[in-house]
Amino acid sequence: MLRLPEFNYIRAKSLKQAGRLLADLGPEAMAVAGGTDVYPKMKRGQFTPRHLVSLRFLSELRGIRPGTKDGMWIGAGETLTAVSQNPAVNKLFPALAHAAGSVSTPQLRNVGTIGGNVFVDTRCNYYDQTFFWRQAAGFCMKKDGDICLVAPKSKMCLAVFSSDTAPVLVSLGAVATFSGPNGLRRVLFDECYRDDGINFLTKQSNEVLQGISIPRPAFGQRNVYLKLRRRGSFDFPVLGVAAAMQFNPKGVCLSSKIVLTAVASAPVVVDEAAHLLEGKTVTRDAIEAAAEAAAKVSHPVDNADLDYWYRKRMTKVYVKRALAELAGIQLELEKGAVKPRQI
């Protein structure tokens, strides 16, 4: 049986205390909420905390409130099941409901939290392995080593950002509320990430995500999330496309935001694609051009499931399909090869 190493388990009594404990205990401490990412990684020796500060039972992290003055508030400790099944989330942000409901499996979503998913550790086939395997492979820079095994010449870790919900939140202009030693801090999700497989988060290690606000302007936006993966459950995205668009009554695109996940170490906002659509009536050609632009910035590498050449190819197709869905356009299947000769 694969087991957890020994550690101190400290059940935080409040968010404030959690922040203080994390600050006091320093790098040897780690926050845990649902544990669905932390515990497997501890079993494999990827995370080696001496102290776990549990946020699991904090009521301050609970609650989904659709009508606050800042928009919709989602407590970071809400489970992915709760988010995916919440009626208001489903009505206003079907993309978020779908993304949350597509994470792993029903069982995992019953425990895994939205806060855990937006900041889920970056993934890599060379990193998400047991200690034995990583030792046999020669350790990589993300844990215990100093080179990148995917691309040995890379100075940066290329682990893949693999959150389903984060790209949706970025596309909706959502804001993260952190609780830290200096009180609360509000940051656009857009600014929460950086393209570095190791230091992929801009937040401080003693800051705890309290909740997520999706601002009122996003309430009228159409939104969608499409996910590529091998199976209909269990699997992380190997490509995800989140898109949100605002239309005027005449069908002109007023604003659009397209965000890719699992193609880099952070969510990738495809501004060029958005610019091609804004101020225009969305046509098949415009979608095609936007999808082309998105594919240019998608750089999957050989460290996740499915062939990376294929994943790059799929960026264009998935962006196209996401945009067509938002614009209500029926895409025709490409006329490919013809059927084998009739008998």
């Binding site: 694969l2 404990l21 669905t36 102290h51 069982q107």
Partner: protein
Amino acid sequence: MPKRKKSSKTDAAQKGWAKRLLRLKVNGEIKEVATETSKTLLEVLREDLNLTGTKHGCELGECGTCTVLINGDAVLSCLVLGVESEDAEIVTVEGLMRDSQPHPLQRAFADLGATQCGYCIPGILLTAKVLLDKNPHPTRDEVREALSGNLCRCTGYTKILEAVELAARGEEGQ
């Protein structure tokens, strides 16, 4: 110097990873057990409480075999600590029987040959129980979705899906 204000628990644990007395409510019975904090609920159930009906297939949350119920939700016992399961209602496969009568799902699975090697079945039965508790007459697709986190390598799921439906219809044998 930062203030080093440690909780007493931290100190206690640092003296050698002390065991902790857990008070768990499993299948309606209160169980007290002294065990390591680092033990998952899976390990506590199997190794400390001898409830070996709960199986394990990966211990990483990747197969669904170790599914148990906590407060009526299906969860992976390999990814929940024993200490996190206190003050909760835990149900394992051993708790499915009522008054020594098998649960309708157990009868339906036996009736239709839905168990082959049987190793994934405890987790599947519990997952299916939650489904039927919340949605007594699910469609085939709803059953598929609900069981999409439980791998079975023997059956091709066909008889499992049929058995859940049979139990939902209340047509299983004794």
